[in-house]
């Protein structure tokens, strides 16, 4: 019956309109934030992207990217960047895993107290922390004084304005980014599993490596990824603690702008950095199914 078919679709248009209105209202609530992000991130970064493909004559060209292949300094910069990022991530894992494990074993209340030691650096200006390491590590700094006093070495060792200082400072700054997700993942591990393993006769060591460690992997991968990606684009700490000897991509970008005012070259370098970051993120999320670990925490 045609009449009944008509009544079956009663109010369909009005309902659709209402639905659309609701969705647009909700989008409207997100709009101010979107405007800011578009203005500060999307347009400027898009603009850099455009600039990176402009040659000296203002025409489209790949010369900025070709430069990267031609000059060895670029290759060295990329090498340094990856080297620093990988080493920092490894140091963070080596130091952060035992710490997170220790914290995860404690009762919540006490863990919360000790967690302050991780959170405090997290909340403190990274400039202040970088400065503190500069003071600690310098030639006549506390560490050298202390080491000489207890006879670890005889004359002051150069600990800063080089790779060593950079790595120490970076690891300290990045550690919370690894420990927090790792701790969360460890807290989610079902304690009954470990108990069951030990009841079934597994030694504590075996139970740890065969059960606990694999289950803590998602948190560790998520944390390492955050650390690695943050390291790739890091600027302040290498610039201060590296003392001009550790040139990372971000450092070189500013150097190009300050010395040559070459926006094309700086932009191209920035674009490569961004692409590398995104590739790492995509690759890792494909490999480890990171969606939930990265966005589902908390």
């Amino acid at each position: 019956m045609a009449a009944s078919a008509g009544s079956r679709l009663k109010h369909a248009d009005a309902l659709k309109r209402q639905n659309r209105l609701e969705q647009w209202t909700l989008l409207g609530l997100a709009a101010p934030a979107l405007v800011v992000i578009v203005l500060v991130v999307l347009i400027p970064v898009g603009w850099l992207f455009y600039l990176s493909f402009l040659g000296g004559d203002g025409q489209f060209s790949l010369e900025n990217y070709q430069k990267m292949l031609k000059y060895k300094s670029y290759a060295r910069t990329f090498m340094t960047t990856f080297q620093v990022s990988i080493l920092t991530t490894l140091i963070c894992i080596l130091i952060g895993y035992p710490l997170a494990y220790f914290l995860a074993q404690l009762p919540n209340r006490i863990a919360g107290l000790f967690m302050l030691t991780v959170l405090l650096p997290f909340w403190t200006s990274l400039l202040v922390r970088t400065y503190a390491w500069l003071v600690l590590l310098q030639r006549k700094g506390i560490l050298n004084d202390f080491a000489i006093q207890i006879g670890l070495w005889d004359s002051p060792v150069k600990l800063v304005h080089n790779m060593t200082g950079t790595l120490i400072g970076m690891a300290h700054i990045m550690l919370p980014f690894l420990v927090l997700p790792l701790y969360n993942a460890m807290k989610k591990i079902d304690r009954d599993l470990m108990q069951a393993a030990s009841n079934l006769g597994a030694t504590p060591t075996r139970a740890f490596w065969q059960i606990y460690f694999p289950l803590s992997m998602p948190g560790m991968v998520a944390g390492s990824l955050i650390v690695f990606v943050l390291c790739l684009g890091f600027y302040v700490t290498p610039a201060v603690l590296g003392g001009g000897r550790v040139i990372m991509v971000a450092t070189q970008i500013t150097a190009i702008l300050e010395n040559q005012y070459d926006w094309g070259a700086a932009s191209a370098l920035g674009v490569v950095l961004l692409v590398a970051t995104i590739l790492v993120l995509i690759l890792a999320s494909r490999l480890f199914k990171l969606d939930s670990a990265l966005f589902g925490k908390g």
């Binding site: 009544s7 079956r8 679709l9 009663k10 109010h11 369909a12 009005a14 309902l15 659709k16 209402q18 639905n19 609701e22």
Partner: protein, 387 residues
Amino acid sequence: MSLDHSSDSALPIKISGLTKKYGDMYALDAVDLDIKSGEFLTLLGPSGSGKTTLLMAIAGFNRPDAGSIRFADQEMILYPPHRREVGMVFQSYALFPHMTVAENIAFPLKLRKVSVEECALRVEEALQTVQLDGLGARNIDQLSGGQRQRVALARAFVFRPRILLMDEPLSALDKKLRERMQIELKQLHRQLGVTTVYVTHDQREALTMSDRIAVINHGKLVQVDTPEAIYNAPANAFVADFIGESTLLPLSLGGGDQLYFGDQSIATVQAAVSAQGGTENNQGWSLVVRPERLLVLDKNSSSSQPLINGFAFDGIVFGGTIRESVFQGESAFLIVALASGADSSGVDVAVRFSTGKAANIESLANGQQIELGLHREDVIVIPQEAD
């Protein structure tokens, strides 16, 4: 002043052509449903059947794709929830933890700008109705599960809504409390007289509380009727299976108009068709056997006439072998493999009976031959599912 403001505030609900699609799946498939003024109607179905979607559509939280929802003569489908004047109780209770019990209950009154004095009066009255007198100053986290349930209820009716909606409100309670609350809710409904739509997946709860039950599956209403009618005359295998326990015995069409199980004549096709409201069916028919409707017949009756407790039994008789007997306190049940004549695969049926001394359970051992009887009045024949 009494809370009995029933007759003037209850409203009938008329739902027609209500449709909601998620992707390719219909959550509601052109649902038509008339809910009478003051009625307690339960939407019953398995999870994902669309019962909650339907309830949320009535409340205004779920916007359907098309259709109509009328409260009396007024079309409500385009109204936002806050203008529908519908009291609602959620599964999670959704009490406001940052307010006291009294503040929770006063919330809808404050929104309606009820004077402070009247507000206090009505909150107190509502607390009395749900037997929480004197607990108004409590915080929510000081209440037990059952008390929270009552606060949620009081908050939902204190502003005298014309319709009360409840989404599995008892599912978080333990069994004893749940059964007590079922009776209390029913009494409260009678007192308030407000049209009530109740969602549950628990068929017992639906049978206990409802004036009528609307069985819903795959977004479609399967059967809407009184609890007795739904239980005694299920419309199809889904309803028969979902409400109460049952076993379906496939019937074969024998000579003339007769439907047979084995060599037992069960019913006529004509009777089956008329019981189904005249629906023609060419998929075949099944017999619905409820465990408590089967009777254990006397053993070793020397006469050819079957006996029950020494009296003649002239209903349908099934022969079978006991596979398992289970004692459960107030009742016991047997699992019996029927010796069906037609196909040798055999069908297991359950038989439930109350455990008096007379039942003599010890004599019903596994492996024993047994005869089961079914009164002709208890015969329920339904069309077979097309699958």
